[in-house]
């Protein structure tokens, strides 16, 4: 199943090019080294010195191993899981042994035998691989997909029933407009109930968002104005589905509906060399009438989905003052599935 490969956390052998994985490996190994230092330290006061010593031994091998893993990621993924894991162990052991032999004087200085270093490196790597395997079980593809499906299918009932009401009043007077509205509504729900693991392009998501906004326009009329600023380079970028539409729904619900005079929702999509940025802004300050609850849910929802799709490589930021509210999502560019 092709889609499984999209989620960084669901394979027992992690994606060595993912920032989150690298960070976890660095932290994990250093933590083990610190633990080892504690065990070998005669007194607690000696621990910091032992830690430094251990770090000096561990770091070069660790960094080199990670760099090599970065290079051979695709190769490892093609092997059976156990063989892949064994290769990682051998690589870690090999790098450590190699470094120790090259810098033999440096290592003997600390009084460590090469064989001991190799065994230690392989044991530490085994611990790390065990952690990644457990983590993959927690985020099993089936669970991840179910979770994503549940997260995706969250179009506000408020919007659905108001739209249906609008369409009903169009049917007699303006049947063609009613047809178009129902078609848009159906596209929107197809997207919401579609394959959550599929990747769409920015162009697809923008098209869907336009359909959604047309429906809102039907209801709100001139109160809703949308300002699109889309960098043409961003249109072919791949993103997970429904990244934009829920944020627009939020912007309309919290920024436009509570204001009698309406306002402008602005959408800005830019792409530079390695980062794609989606920004949605809406006015605030509606006085006492507002939709108090519900805002945090949609944002928490998108945050969770970003974590499932990208681990640590994507982030969501919120800017807010008395008058304006802006949500920005940063995604890695050119992220090809491995």
């Amino acid at each position: 199943m092709a889609s499984i490969r999209h989620f960084p956390a669901t394979h027992p052998l992690p994606d060595w090019r993912n920032l989150g994985v690298m960070l976890r490996a660095l932290l994990g190994i250093n933590l083990l080294a610190a633990l080892g230092a504690l065990m070998s330290a005669p007194a607690l006061a000696d621990w910091p010195a032992r830690c430094l010593e251990a770090a000096a031994l561990v770091e070069p091998a660790l960094l080199l191993t990670l760099a090599l893993l970065y290079l051979v990621r695709d190769l490892l993924r093609r092997l059976p899981v156990r063989l892949g894991q064994a290769s990682v162990l051998l690589l870690a052991g090999g790098v450590t042994g190699g470094l120790a032999l090259v810098a033999v004087d440096f290592y003997w200085l600390f009084g460590h035998a090469v064989s001991r270093m190799v065994v230690l490196a392989m044991l530490m790597s085994a611990c790390l691989l065990g952690y990644f395997e457990l983590r993959a079980r927690v985020f099993s593809p089936a669970q991840t997909e179910a979770r994503l499906a549940a997260l995706n299918a969250r179009i506000r009932p408020h919007f659905l029933f108001n739209s249906l009401n609008a369409v009903l009043s169009l049917i007699r007077a303006r049947p063609q407009q009613a047809e178009a509205a129902l078609e848009s509504l159906s596209d929107l729900f197809r997207a919401a109930m579609g394959d959550p693991a599929a990747r769409v392009t920015v162009a697809d998501e923008v098209a869907l968002s336009r359909q959604y906004l047309e429906l809102e326009h039907l209801r709100l009329g001139e109160r809703l104005t949308v300002d699109w600023q889309i960098d043409p380079d961003s249109l072919c970028q791949e993103i997970p589905p429904l990244m934009l539409q829920p944020l627009l729904e939020n912007a309309v619900y919290h920024g436009i509906e509570p204001r009698p005079e309406g306002g402008v929702v602005s959408v800005r999509i830019t792409a530079d060399r390695d980062q794609l940025q989606l920004a949605i802004a809406n006015p605030l300050g509606a006085g006492p009438v507002g939709h108090a609850p519900g805002n945090q849910m949609a944002l928490a929802n998108i945050r969770e989905r970003l974590a499932l799709y990208y681990d640590l490589e994507a982030r969501l930021e919120i800017d807010q003052d008395d008058q304006h509210y802006e949500v920005r999502i940063y995604l890695p560019c050119h992220r090809k599935p491995y």
């Binding site: 659905l160 108001n162 009043s169 209801r219 006492p288 009438v289 108090a292």
Partner: protein
């Protein structure tokens, strides 16, 4: 209401198509229940303006609207000599539906069915209108805050004072007076009630005075022999000085510093 009379209906909804839909349904029901739509409004404020010019039997009002919502609109009707009946509508609103069900108030779910609208129109005159106090309570629950406007009756006319424009409120004998930059208004509410309804907006200075937090410019201690007040509050936009009681001195200073 005799069967021959034509029911005068006012439709209030911020969405034009939702109003159109109700108008169509009333047309469909004309045989069973003759009615005429005497006006449309996009929120409670506009609806009250229509009511000043026009006699209305029934208002169909959306619960949530910007400017002034349907619940607040219904609350302002109580003071009219012959208030129209109100039927509430909502498309989907968990908070409102819960609050209405809890208090056994009727409402129509959008999209509205013709039959359901007919029943509601037929029985709306039989049940007594909900009290202003109940509407105030439900309004607070649904919108999570106080009203947008306070009512002031002047020579038989209803004036609406936007809450954000009120700088301070002062109790004089039987009445509460709201002071804005332009003028003063006699209100029907009590100070205690207003303090409870707008805790975010007003702070008590004195037994008889509430002030808008953002209108407060500073405070100064009164002379020791001043029997009237422990301190005085200065306002941003008015030259008026307001008395602060000994008890409120601490909390008021905290607001200025916070």
């Amino acid at each position: 209401m005799s069967p021959e009379t034509v029911l005068k209906v006012l439709i209030v909804d911020d969405e034009p198509l939702a109003r159109e839909r109700l108008r169509t349904l009333l047309g469909d029901l004309a045989v069973q229940l003759p009615s005429t739509v005497v006006g449309e409004a996009a929120n409670g404020l506009q609806a009250l303006a229509v009511l000043r010019e026009q006699a209305v039997d029934v208002i169909l009002a959306d619960i949530r609207m910007p400017g002034m919502d349907g619940i607040e609109l219904a609350g302002h009707l109580g003071s009219m000599p012959k208030p129209p009946a109100v039927i509430f509508t909502t498309a989907y609103d968990n908070y409102a539906v819960q609050a209405f069900d809890l208090n056994a108030l009727d409402y129509l779910l959008k999209p509205v069915r013709a039959q359901r609208l007919l029943t509601a129109l037929q029985k709306v005159r039989q049940s007594p209108p909900p009290s202003a106090a109940l509407l105030g309570e439900i309004g607070q629950q649904v919108r999570g805050g106080g009203r947008s406007h306070l009512a002031c009756h002047e020579r038989g006319r209803l004036l609406l004072v936007p809450v954000p424009e009120i700088l301070y409120l002062k109790a004089d004998l039987k009445y509460v007076v709201a002071h804005t930059r332009e003028r003063d208004y006699l209100l029907d509410d009590t100070l205690t009630h207003l303090e409870a309804e707008f805790p975010e907006r007003f702070i008590r200075l004195h037994r008889a005075v509430l002030v808008a937090r953002d209108a407060l410019a500073g405070v100064e201690r009164a002379a020791d022999d001043d029997a009237e007040a422990y301190g005085w509050a200065l306002l941003r936009d008015l030259p008026d000085r307001l008395p602060i009681s000994r008890r409120q001195w601490g909390p008021v200073k905290a607001v200025l510093q916070g």
